[in-house]
Amino acid sequence: MGIVKKLTAKSWSAENSASDDQHLSAISPHSSKIGLRLFLAIVTSLFFLVVAAYKMRMDLADWVPMPEPDLLWYNTVILIASSLAMEWARRAARRGQAQTVKLGMMIGGLLAITFLVGQLVAWQEMANLGFYASSNPANSFFYMITGIHGLHILGGVIAWTRSMARIGRGDDEDKIKLGVDLCATYWHFLLLVWLVMFALMIST
């Protein structure tokens, strides 16, 4: 039933009541998936506002574009690889290949941790070059955006360790599949966010 039809239903009349009586709110997709999608909508709102603030602040006179260290390119490649590994694990989970799931998840998670370390090294490099957070708004945004994004990755890594523990215990297959699926969705989303943020920073 389409959303328009749902929202125009005359719930007071007996007209469609028989079919309405059979109505069940969706059992599938799983509530966790709905919850995650909602959360991604919130994160989208967050980063959208960051971009809006970036654009507004950029137009002011004191903005000095910041050089991006090459390391960021390598980090980007690592994050892409991490996301691909997660996707590999997700597809393996659908086919029921437990070993591949484990391997893909392991690679994906470790690459994400590598990305985080890489971002910290990038901070170090920037600071060594004298680009401190407070010296220019472009730098401030760089640190803030990478910081917020990194914290979201970190949250993902925490969820990932729980999924890994589940795989390690040899938990129920459906639960493992769900966990892998949620991880992969979140990883792809954060990759997308990073690509947009990175594009924003190198284009200005």
């Binding site: 749902k6 929202l7 125009t8 239903a9 005359k10 719930s11 007071w12 009349s13 007996a14 009541s17 028989a18 309405d20 009586d21 059979q22 109505h23 069940l24 709110s25 969706a26 059992i27 509530s31 966790s32 709905i34 919850g35 909602l38 959360f39 909508a41 919130i42 994160v43 709102s45 967050l46 506002l49 960051v50 603030a53 507004m56 602040r57 002011l60 006179a61 004191d62 903005w63 957070a133 407070s134 708004p137 401030s140 803030m144 917020i148």
Partner: protein, 593 residues
Amino acid sequence: MDYVAPAEVEDLELHDPDTFITKYVWSQDHKVIAVQYSIIAIAVGLVALVLSGLMRLQLGFPGMFEFINPATYLQFVTMHGMIMVIYLLTALFLGGFGNYLIPLMCGARDMVFPYMNMLSVWVYLLSVIILMASFFVPGGPTGAGWTLYPPQAILQGTPGSDWGIILMLVSLVVFIVAFTMGGLNYVTTVLQARTRGMTLMRMPLSVWGIFIATILGLLAFPALFVSGIMMLLDRVIGTSFFMPVIISLGQQLDYGGGSPILFQHLFWFFGHPEVYIVALPAFGIVSDLLSVHARRHIFGYRMMVWAIVIIGGLSFVVWAHHMYVSGMNPWFGFFFATTTLIIAVPTALKVYNWTLTLWKANINFTLPMLFAIGFIVTFVNGGITGLFLGNVVVDVPLSDTMFVVAHFHMVMGVAPLLVIFGAIYHWYPLVTGRMLHEGMGKFHFWVTFLGTYAIYFPMHYLGFVGVPRRYYDYEGIEFIPQSARDLNSAITIAALIVGVVQLLFIYNMIWSYFKGKKSGPNPWKAASLEWQTPQTPPVHGNWGPNLPLVYRWAYDYAVPGAKDDFCPQNQPRSADAGSSAMVAGSAPSAEDN
């Protein structure tokens, strides 16, 4: 239509509490969490109530109280505003009522993520503790005004610029984390966990209001989150997101180039939806109170739902009407004035529908009904002054006067609070199994209702005279006549009386918990699902062995031939007096009584 056997519904895995700690402290039961949320919110609200009393003492009787100096006065203003808007109203409506009502009204056993729900209330408590801690740090809480505008919010000279502002920003960020965890639950539960037969358009309007308000909150709070983080960075590590070049006390500060207006945009992109985060649950709940206590279906149910959704959408495109005096482009102001006035259309529609619900209804002047009617009147009064302020040319001279204070207290302070009171009188029997004391309640209503008019009506006149808001003292301001000062004293007396009577309400809640009249199941004869649980108050898991099945909307009142004049939502249609013709008696097109 023949009876069709119910489909198998997979049951939720419930976390069963067995010890006192898991039952009442680290509880994952939505009902316990709701009560925890409500108690914390009401407790912190009492702090804000005391602060408003102190503010009024200074305004009504300037200079008589030595412990109130300009710095403490501004701290009272700031903390009063922030606590009332965020830590009381938002938390109580969504964390309190949302938690209690959504699973019960949708026919679920609990929220879909009970563990996250439990985390939500404890993180909320943490944010409250952080905020309250700012009363005890050197320099005290921030006095920047609840809008926390930079640059003054973080500069030396503003009260609490050492620690207060940092604690305030950290507390807000923590609150947003708590709200997000709760909010994900409320929305997902409404989408996923409704029982069989509970279509979207069979949901009570309370659920609709809370549902849409939560979505607004989830999308709007990130703006406060971002601006909070940015201001924290400005304050702590010296970035210049918002801070322009500043000479303070003869010295140029290290800041430069930032935009205070950028903060205002971010803040109000959150701040305006926040008004509706508070108002939409109030709209929803008051619709249900009116319907139950007037024994009549809500007039124009579909329109009411659509209006809630449309108001929610529009609330994201009106934010800059809080910034008419910030020097914006006139076309910009024109745009926001237009959207602001448009939002009055669905809102007025709701007011008409409430009054039309009462038309020819069987109005029972119970306590919830008194508060609901009080809400309609107050909301209309406050809303109409909003039309004044929504126009740029009218707003500019009235900006930052007491007129604005009167407007927003009427429309988003008193009006939602009246709904909260009405809702507590209405659902207290469900939560505790006992009725609140009627006499104390009536006294509470009349003093609160008339008292708030004694406070806020004269304030409009003060605003017209030009009395500015946020001023510690009006001494030596020549254009403010003596009569305005006398009026201020009168307002203070009214405010103190209203404040004290709220303590009677608290007393009533405690007294009735032990000594109140036993309510029995469904004392108001309400049709919605939360009153149809096997036990009153509902036990853990809510529904006994089987989930309820829903056969109708929540407003089948005054049904001819029905037992007790109404049909609960879980009563099959074939059971109402045996004929479908009788069912039509409840339709809006049919005549009533």
